[in-house]
């Protein structure tokens, strides 16, 4: 089966982020979205550790240990960017000031519940960071993930079996097979990878899907 590459997924997410948006990109796959935001579009990237206007990684040798992102990697600050303390940074999330966040996920439920912080394994050390604050804070929560686990199980589920990060918080899911909206009427397929029929996607996903209306998105 044909699948979207990670670059294609990142580019597809980037297409949905308009000029002027305040955006937080989660650690991992979502970070790739930054590389696909058009340079002529002014977009404000937020990092939970206290900066707005985050720029790309610095040139080798110009790293500053006091200027890092949420993944603790060296970054730069764009002209016009700002620093602030942690309570302000999370007020930007919780207070609904961020337009978008893009997060990875283990599972998303049909009602938009998100599980992305803990597998629930007994010996795993739990670590949550800012995931729960982002999930409930941004105006639109976008999830990027593989459609299926390595074992072939759908990561879009009727009910999450992993511990929840947030309840009914996801707005749109970008997978390697499809773009799917979470709506009050259920999951609506916006688009699928070339050659994948709606019925086949529905069979793979295993929870009820419907076609989004042409005006959705």
């Amino acid at each position: 089966m044909k699948r979207f590459t990670r670059e294609q997924m990142a580019a597809r997410v980037a297409r949905d982020i308009p000029e002027g948006a305040y955006v937080n990109l989660g650690i991992g796959l979502p970070t790739m979205v930054a590389n696909h935001l058009p340079k002529e579009r002014e977009i404000f990237l937020h990092s939970e550790n206290g900066l707005l206007g985050m720029g790309p990684a610095p040139a080798a040798g110009s790293e500053d240990p006091d200027l890092i992102n949420a993944g603790k990697q060296p970054v730069t600050l764009l002209t016009g960017g700002a620093y602030f303390h942690h309570a302000d940074s999370f007020a930007m999330m919780r207070g609904g000031h961020l337009d978008f966040c893009v997060l990875g996920a283990f599972q998303v439920s049909a009602s938009g519940d998100l599980a992305n912080w803990h597998t629930g394994a007994i010996n795993a050390i739990p670590a949550v960071g800012g995931a729960m604050d982002l999930a409930i804070g941004a105006k639109r929560v976008l999830v990027m993930m593989d459609h299926q686990t390595k074992g072939g199980e759908s990561k879009i589920v009727a009910h999450c079996t992993y511990p929840l990060t947030g309840v009914k918080c996801v707005n749109r899911i970008y997978t390697d097979l499809a773009v799917i909206d979470v709506t009050p009427e259920g999951l609506a397929v916006v688009e699928t990878v070339d050659g994948l029929a709606f019925d086949e996607l529905a069979r793979i996903t295993g929870v009820p899907l419907r076609r989004a209306s042409a005006t959705a998105g």
Binding site: P65, D66, H86, R94, A127
Partner: protein, 232 residues
């Protein structure tokens, strides 16, 4: 004349006693007051409760304090990192208690302590395992969790510049938890790269006003900027 400067890190932390709750600034190693932590290790206090975003990197700073078995409990949001092996071993051995707090709740609970708030309702973690056993309420159709402040006996933070009244400015993302931890501790101790003369800090850009800072120690760590840093 009011002079909050202290001669050495050891003198600054001398009265941190067994059982104290100590906030430590920093996000990873950015803003971590390593020299104050080293002084706390030399001080010998044990049975500490530590509040930090993480649980130490490699063998330095907070990780060294954990390794010295001085910490009974840690309150943090993200203990597990690629180089958090000191914490990981203590945790698996059952030798340290962990209170895991979503990062924004951690920041707001610290802020609340400094601002005199008795408790607050937050939407973060509602309906998740981290809200289990906590009081909840639905307000205007949205679920919230009741969270209580986190106050401390001491805060150890790092800033860029300070003056003898305790006014502070920070450097880039090393600011992180510094300002709110300073306000939430009975005694906030700041290590600064440079102590400057009163009046040299522009009053319009002072980030932490001196009322929140009790002690200030100058440690010129400029040469640390070129030293190898621990990985994330």
């Amino acid at each position: 004349m009011i002079d909050k400067t202290v001669a050495s890190p050891s003198a600054a932390v001398a009265d941190i006693a067994d059982g104290a709750t100590v906030m430590i600034g920093g996000f990873g190693t950015a803003g971590m007051p390593s020299e104050l932590i080293d002084a706390l290790i030399r001080n010998g206090a044990r049975d500490l409760t530590i509040v930090n975003n993480n649980a130490g990197n490699a063998d330095v700073g907070l990780a060294a304090l954990l390794k010295a078995k001085r910490v009974r409990k840690i309150i943090c949001s993200f203990p597990r990192q690629t180089d958090s092996y000191v914490f990981d071993a203590l945790y698996h051995a059952g030798e340290i208690e962990l209170e895991l707090v979503p990062q924004g709740n951690l920041a707001e609970r610290i802020r609340a302590a400094g601002a005199g708030i008795g408790a607050f309702f937050t939407p973060t973690a509602y309906g998740t395992p981290l809200a289990e056993g906590k009081e909840t309420r639905v307000i205007n159709g949205r679920g919230y969790v009741l969270e209580y402040p986190i106050a401390a006996d001491f805060a150890l933070i790092k800033a860029e510049k300070g003056d003898r009244w305790g006014n502070l400015v920070y450097r880039k993302t090393a600011r992180n938890f510094g300002p709110i931890m300073a306000s939430a501790a009975k005694c906030a101790i700041a290590q600064v790269r440079k102590v400057v003369a009163l009046g040299e800090l522009d009053p319009e850009v002072i980030v932490t006003p001196g009322i929140f800072v009790q002690r200030i120690v100058e440690i010129d760590v400029a040469d640390q900027l070129s030293a190898p840093q621990a990985a994330a």
